[in-house]
């Protein structure tokens, strides 16, 4: 499903003319199979988010290639990648990234609107999705009127509503208390089991990492180990 081949990435820091180069991802290669849950762990600042952002297409790798569903996404233009994301990827972020001026319903509906789904079908799918995450009674609430766990469920509903085969999550439990964290992790496992959705989850928490079938550890931008939890 995902092939990361000898990918390196560096940032240029400082003023123009006196820039220094910061190598964040150093020649990383790994594969993610369809139906897997892969956890990427590592200390803060090790480059996990940067790696996920490369896979998401928010930044382009300095070197190497990334192939997702047989498409060489590392060579996509910005708008090609946007279309690809809409059709193939769902996102869960640490701080949810809901649009504050839109209700829960509208936030979940947004990907459907972007994809051009008809209004009637949209309504059905949005409501179904809100039911799936158990928020059908909160559809008219704005994000500020929801708890952290509820917000994260809205953002999961938004990530799932177009039924993408792949979901990328950067510290999805980072803003949640441990109980909600457990709820979320169980939900992820359920989605993986029932719908065959592939997950790539970033976390600095080894406990959280355990939900993955496989863990990839990153240290200082390098692949440290790749193990399988049983």
């Amino acid at each position: 499903m995902i092939e990361v081949n000898q990918v390196s990435h560096h940032f240029r820091l400082g003023k123009k003319g006196q820039q220094s180069r910061l190598d964040v991802i150093k020649n990383i290669s790994f594969h993610v199979q369809q139906g897997e849950i892969v956890s990427i762990v590592g200390r803060s600042g090790s480059g996990k988010s940067t790696l996920l952002n490369l896979i998401s297409g928010f930044i382009k790798p300095s070197e190497g290639e990334i192939i997702i569903s047989d498409e060489k996404v590392s060579e996509f233009t910005e708008s090609e990648f946007a279309d690809f994301r809409l059709k193939n990827m769902g996102f869960i972020f640490q701080n949810f990234q809901l649009i504050p001026s839109m209700t829960a319903y509208e936030n979940v509906e947004l990907p459907l609107i972007l994809k051009g789904v008809s209004e009637a079908a949209r309504k059905q799918m949005t409501i179904d999705m809100l039911k799936t995450v158990g928020l059908e009674h909160f559809q008219g609430h704005y994000p500020s009127e929801l708890s952290g766990g509820q917000q994260q469920r809205v953002s999961i509903a938004r990530a799932l509503v177009l039924e993408p085969p792949l979901i990328l999550a950067d510290e999805p439990t980072g803003s949640l208390d441990s109980e909600t964290e457990q709820d979320l992790l169980r939900f992820i496992q359920k989605l993986n089991r029932e719908r065959g959705i592939t997950f790539v989850i970033i976390t600095h928490d080894d406990e959280v990492a355990k939900i993955g079938n496989r863990t990839i550890r990153i240290t200082d931008g390098e692949l440290a180990e790749s193990g399988v939890f049983v």
Binding site: E78, S79, A82, F84, R85, M89, L110, P111, I113, K115
Partner: protein, 438 residues
Amino acid sequence: MKLKDQFRFIRQNMKKNRMRVSMTILATAMGCAFLIVLASVAFGLHSTIIKENLESPAVTQIEVHGLNDGEGNFGPLNDKNIESIEELNGVKAVTRQRDLSMFTYSIEEYSQSASTVQSHFPSMTEAGIEISEGAYPKNKNEVMVGYHFALSFTDPDAEEIEYNEFGVPLEEYRYSENLVGKTIDMELKTVVDGKETIETVPMTVSGIFEAPAREWSQDYSVYITDEKYNELAAIPGLTGEFGEIEKMDYYQFATVYANTLEDVKPVVADLENEGYAVYSIVSEMAQINMFFNVAKAGLIFIGTIAILIASIGIFNTMTMAVTERAPDIGIMKAIGASPKVIKRIFLLESSYIGLMGAVIGIIAAYIISISVNLGLPFILMQVFPEDQLPEGFTFSSIPLSLILIAVAICLAVTILSGVRPAKRATEIDVLKAMRREL
């Protein structure tokens, strides 16, 4: 993303900043209304002048002032010239005149001095020149008189004569009976070998011309036939105001009447080709049109500046909208909104502002234009009570073409001013936006 949803999006976005958006629309509307009202003056005055000229009977007339002798000097026209002009395509008739001189005419105890002009009546009949009373002369002793001549016989012994604003004596001071059919006496002075004789020649007034179309021009002349001209001019020692009169075998003045309005241009071209100096309202109108078109273009240009100023407001509004919505745009891009869609949404928003501005501006411009047209004559009447506006006078007129021009300019300017902010929206960095770093 469907267009309908894009519009919904825009509406929602604009609702969040209703005040700012409506102020921007207002500024655009003002610019647009300013442009239309400004240019409508040129359109209004132009159409007034065109209408006035096209409705005037003089529109098919071509005045011929002379013939180029080949060296740049213009001389008068003779019978041969007239004949050749009469043969041109599209020419209905050629009237021509020769001045004799000023002579004194009298009836009963009333008299007046009037210029005496030979006129070719058959061609006038053909040209369809209307007369207000009577008929054209049938013999050499009959004459036509000008409309104002007929009103200007006064008693030379009267103490003081009062005139109206056009220089015509008031009724109580003038000969008040109808002149048609009456005989007036023409006073002829001859000087032969220093000996002055005065005799009177009776003439019968067969008809009176219509007053000239322009109210400021007056016709005090007496018109005699060719035959009478030849007879009088041949009298030895006949002396007019400026000395002895010599018989002319040429015409000082000829007017060509074209069959129709459409014939005027080709006839003018033919005449000019043959070296005649001509004047026609139609050729003057070409110049008038040119003048007004330049004026229109100039006023539209000035109006465009107003819209450009308003477009700065649109630019600001859109830039602020992009800045405010940067986090939302970042999220939308992250979940898969393509830059094209984002650009389109912002361009649609600025065009919407432009379109609303144009629509409101057009409505306002119509209201202003109509009130000016209604109010201006009234105000002018208060300020200059003695002046009268010509009938059918429109000060401001808004034809469809002006509306289309204004809408096109307004939309072009507003869309252009939205391009930069829209492009900025597409360039928003997803990660920075999600970190709320923008």
